[in-house]
Amino acid sequence: MSPTSSDSTARQALREQFVHLEQQREADTLGMWIFLATEVLLFGALLACYTVYRLAFAAAFEAASAHMHLWLGTLNTVLLMTSSLTMALGVLAARARARGYILLMLVLTIGLGTAFLGIKFYEWYLEYSERLVPLPGLEFTFEGVNPEHAQLFFNLYFTMTGLHALHLLVGIMIVLVMLILTWRRYNPLLLEYKVEIAGLYWHLVDVIWMFLFPLFYLVNPRG
C-alpha cells in the first residue's frame, strides 16, 4: 500500500472526537470491557438467586437437575467452546489482515452459535413435552421431593438459559455484522479491532454458559 492511501484510510477511520486511531481503539475496547462488567452483574444477580435457593433446597435441586438432558447440554458446551476458539482465530486473522480466514472463522462461529441455539430450543421443547415448564396454562408435573422447590429450579433454569440465549442471539448478530463488513472490504484498520471487540462479547457469552452448565446440569450427574 502506498503511504498516501494508508494515510487516507487512517484518516477516514478516525472519528471526529479522537486525536489518533490508537486512542479510538483503546476507547472502543475499554467501552466494551465496561459493558461486559455490567453483563456480569446482570447475570450475577440471577446467580445470587440461584445460590440462595440451592442452599435452601439442595435435595429438590439435585432431583430436578437429574431431569436435564445432560448429553445435549454437554454437546452444547462443546459447540460453544469451539465457537470461542473459532472466534479467537478470527481475531488473529483480522490482525493478520487475512480476509479469507476471517470470513471462514466468522462463518464457523456463527454456525456453531446457531447450532447451540437450535439444540437449546430442542431441549426446551423436550422439557415442554415432559411437562417441566412452569408457565400458566401448562401443566407442571414433578414426581418426587417437593415439586414446589423443583419448580423454583426450573424457573431459574428457563429464565437464565433464556436470558443467555437472548445474549447469544445478539452475539450472533454482532458477528454477522463483522462478517458482512469483512465481505465488503471494510477499512482493515478498523476491522482489526472491531472483530476483537466482537470477540470479547462472544467470549463473555461463552463464560456465562460455563457457569450455567454445571449449575443446572451437573448438580446430580450420576442421578
Binding site: Q17, I34, A37, T38, A45, L46, Q151, L152
Partner: protein, 543 residues
C-alpha cells in the same frame, strides 16, 4: 482536526437552528439541553404529585383523594423523582456539558451513544407517563414483593418496564463517562490534576455501571412473575419475598450515592471559586469520593433491619453504614477548611453550595441515627426516614443541582441571569426546605408512619408546618424557571469567565464553540488556581 476556523460569534447554540439539528445532535452540549428539558418536565411532574400529597396531609382525614389514589401519588412521586430526575440530573445535564470541557476534549468518547442514551431515557419516560395516564402504580417506588408481584391491581409491569428501560440510559451514560475520563484527557492532565467534579462524575459512573444491572434483574423477575407466573418470590413455591429486597437494595443503596456524588463535585467547584481558595485536602477529597462509591455497595442491608434478616447481618450492615459516613464527613470538614480564611462572596450559586453543606450534614447525621439498629427499629418506616432522605436528596442534591445550574449558566447559555432574584430564590428554597422537612423529623420520631394517608390528630401541627413550607419551597423552585427563561432573551452577554473561576471550561468562550476549544489545551498545573501565594496548597495539587 485540532484547529477549526471559528466564525466571529458562532457557537454551539447558533451553529444550526432546525429542530432536526437539535434532536439528532451528537454534540454533548446539545444533548445536555435535551436532557435538561426532559428532566425539568419530570421534576415538575414529580413535584405536582408532591403538591397533592402535602395538600392532602394538611388534614388527618382523607378528604382530597381516595386511599388508592394516595398510594399511587406517593409511588409515582418516588419513581419519577428517583429515576427520572435525581439519578440522571447532574450527570446528564452538567456532566454531559462540562466533562469534555473540563478535560480539554472535543466531545465525549461516544457522542452517538450519548444521544441514544437520551432517546432511551425518553422511551422509559413514555412508559412512565403511560403508567400515570392509565391509572398509576401503588406499590411505592420500592416495588416490594409479594405485593408488587402477586397482589397489586395497578400497572406494575408498565411501571417497572419504564424503570428497566431508563436503566439502560444510565448504564450507557456511565460507560461513556468512564471511557472519556480514561482516554480523552488533554495533554498534561494527569488524574490528580482533574477537577473534583470530574472525579465525582467518574465515581458516579462506576456505581451506575455496576449497580443498575442488578436492579434490571430484580425488576425483570417481578415482571416475569406477574406476566408469566414464574414465581421467584412466591412463598407457595418456597420463594422468598425478601430476596427481592436484597436485590432491590443492592442497587438502590448505591443509587443514592449516584444521586449525591455529582452534587458533591459541584459544591467543590463552587466553594473554591467563591472563597477564592484552592480546595483543602485535594487527594483526600478525591479519595473520599472513591471510598463513598466502594463502601456504598456494602451497606444495603441497613434498609432491611426489621425485615427479618439475621441479627448478625444487621450488625455488619450497621457497622459498615457507620463507616460509609466517614468519607462524607471528611468532605464536609474539607469544604469547611476551604472556607476558612477565604475571601467569601455570596453569589446565588454560593448560597446554594453553602446550603448544601449545612443540609447535607444534617441529613447525613440523621443517617447515622438510622444506621444504629436499635434506633432504627423505632423509626423505620416513619417520617424520620422520609425527612432523612429528603434532607440529602432535596436539601443536598437538588440544591447542588440549582447551584451548579447558576454557576455554569453563563457558560452554557452565554447569558447572565438576574442575581437579585437568584439570591431570593436560593433563600426561599433554603428556608422553605427547612420548614417542609424539619417537622418531619419530629413527627417521625414521635411515631408518624410514612406512606400513611390518614393519621392521628396529634401529628397535624407538624403536617401543617410541613405543607406550609412546601408552598414556600415550590415558589423557590418556580422562580428560576422565570428568571432563567428571561435571561435567555434579555440577559447580559456573559464573558468567558464571569466568576474568575479556575478550570478549562472557563478558558473558552461563553457559550463555547461547537468543538469546545480553538486549540487543544495543554495542562501544566492543578485544577484550582485561586491561591498563588499559598505555596503549601499549590504543592499538594500541583503534581
Amino acid at each position: 482536526m485540532s484547529s477549526v476556523i471559528i466564525e466571529e460569534g458562532r457557537n454551539y447554540l447558533n451553529a444550526s437552528a432546525s429542530l432536526k439539528s437539535w434532536l439528532l445532535s451528537t454534540d454533548h452540549k446539545r444533548v445536555a439541553w435535551l436532557y435538561m428539558a426532559s428532566l425539568t418536565f419530570f421534576f415538575f411532574m414529580g413535584g405536582a404529585a408532591a403538591v397533592l400529597i402535602r395538600w392532602e396531609l394538611i388534614t388527618p382525614a382523607a378528604d382530597l383523594v381516595r386511599h388508592d389514589i394516595y398510594n399511587r401519588l406517593f409511588s409515582l412521586h418516588g419513581i419519577i423523582m428517583v429515576w427520572f430526575f435525581l439519578v440522571p440530573s447532574i450527570p446528564t445535564t452538567l456532566g454531559n456539558f462540562l466533562l469534555p470541557l473540563m478535560i480539554g476534549a472535543k466531545d465525549l468518547a461516544f457522542p452517538r451513544l450519548n444521544l441514544l442514551s437520551w432517546y432511551i431515557y425518553t422511551l422509559g419516560g413514555i412508559f412512565t407517563l403511560l403508567t400515570v395516564l392509565l391509572g398509576g402504580v401503588d406499590t411505592g417506588w420500592t416495588f416490594y414483593t409479594p405485593f408488587s408481584s402477586m397482589f397489586s391491581n395497578s400497572y406494575v409491569v408498565l411501571a417497572v418496564t419504564g424503570v428497566f428501560i431508563v436503566g439502560f440510559s444510565s448504564v450507557l451514560t456511565g460507560i461513556n463517562f468512564i471511557v472519556t475520563v480514561h482516554k480523552m484527557r488533554a495533554p498534561g492532565l494527569h488524574w490528580f490534576r482533574l477537577p473534583l467534579f470530574v472525579w465525582a462524575s467518574y465515581a458516579t459512573s462506576i456505581i451506575m455501571v455496576l449497580a443498575t444491572p442488578v436492579l434490571s434483574t430484580a425488576l425483570l423477575l417481578v415482571a416475569l412473575e406477574r406476566l408469566l407466573g414464574i414465581g421467584f418470590f412466591d412463598p407457595d413455591l418456597g420463594g422468598d419475598p425478601l430476596l427481592f429486597q436484597h436485590l432491590f437494595w443492592f442497587y438502590s443503596h448505591p443509587a443514592v450515592y449516584i444521586m449525591i456524588l455529582p452534587g458533591m463535585g459541584v459544591v467543590s467547584e463552587i466553594i473554591t471559586c467563591f472563597a477564592r481558595r484552592n480546595i483543602f485536602g485535594y487527594s483526600f477529597m478525591a479519595g473520599s469520593i472513591l471510598a463513598i462509591a466502594i463502601l456504598g455497595f456494602l451497606v444495603w442491608g441497613h434498609h432491611m433491619f426489621v425485615s427479618g434478616q439475621s441479627a448478625y447481618a444487621g450488625l455488619i450492615f450497621s457497622f459498615l453504614s457507620f463507616m460509609v459516613a466517614v468519607p462524607s464527613a471528611i468532605k464536609v470538614f474539607n469544604w469547611t477548611a476551604t472556607l476558612y480564611r477565604g475571601s467569601i462572596s455570596f453569589e446565588a450559586s454560593m448560597l446554594y453550595a453553602l446550603g448544601f453543606v449545612g443540609l447535607f450534614t444534617m441529613g447525613g447525621l440523621t443517617g447515622l441515627f438510622l444506621a444504629s439498629v436499635a434506633v432504627d427499629v423505632h423509626v423505620h418506616d416513619t417520617y424520620f426516614v422520609v425527612a432523612h432522605f429528603h434532607f440529602i436528596m432535596v436539601g443536598g442534591m437538588v440544591t447542588a443541582y440549582l447551584g451548579g445550574l447558576h454557576f455554569w449558566w453563563p457558560k452554557i447559555t452565554g447569558r447572565m441571569y438576574h442575581e437579585f432574584w437568584a439570591r431570593m430564590a436560593a433563600i426561599l428554597v433554603f428556608f422553605g426546605f427547612i420548614l417542609t422537612f424539619f417537622p418531619q423529623y419530629m413527627m417521625g420520631w414521635l411515631g408518624m408512619p410514612r406512606r400513611y394517608h390518614t393519621y392521628a390528630e396529634e401529628y397535624q401541627i407538624f403536617h401543617v408546618l410541613s405543607s406550609a413550607g412546601a408552598t414556600i419551597l415550590a415558589a423557590g423552585y418556580l422562580l428560576p424557571l422565570i428568571y432563567f427563561a428571561w435571561s435567555l432573551r434579555y440577559g447580559h452577554d456573559a464573558p468567558p469567565n464571569p466568576w474568575r473561576a479556575s478550570g478549562l471550561e472557563w478558558q473558552t468562550s461563553s457559550p463555547p464553540p461547537v468543538h469546545n476549544f480553538t486549540q487543544t489545551p495543554v495542562v501544566t498545573h492543578g485544577p484550582y488556581n485561586y491561591d498563588p501565594r499559598n505555596e503549601g496548597q499549590r504543592r499538594v495539587t500541583d503534581l
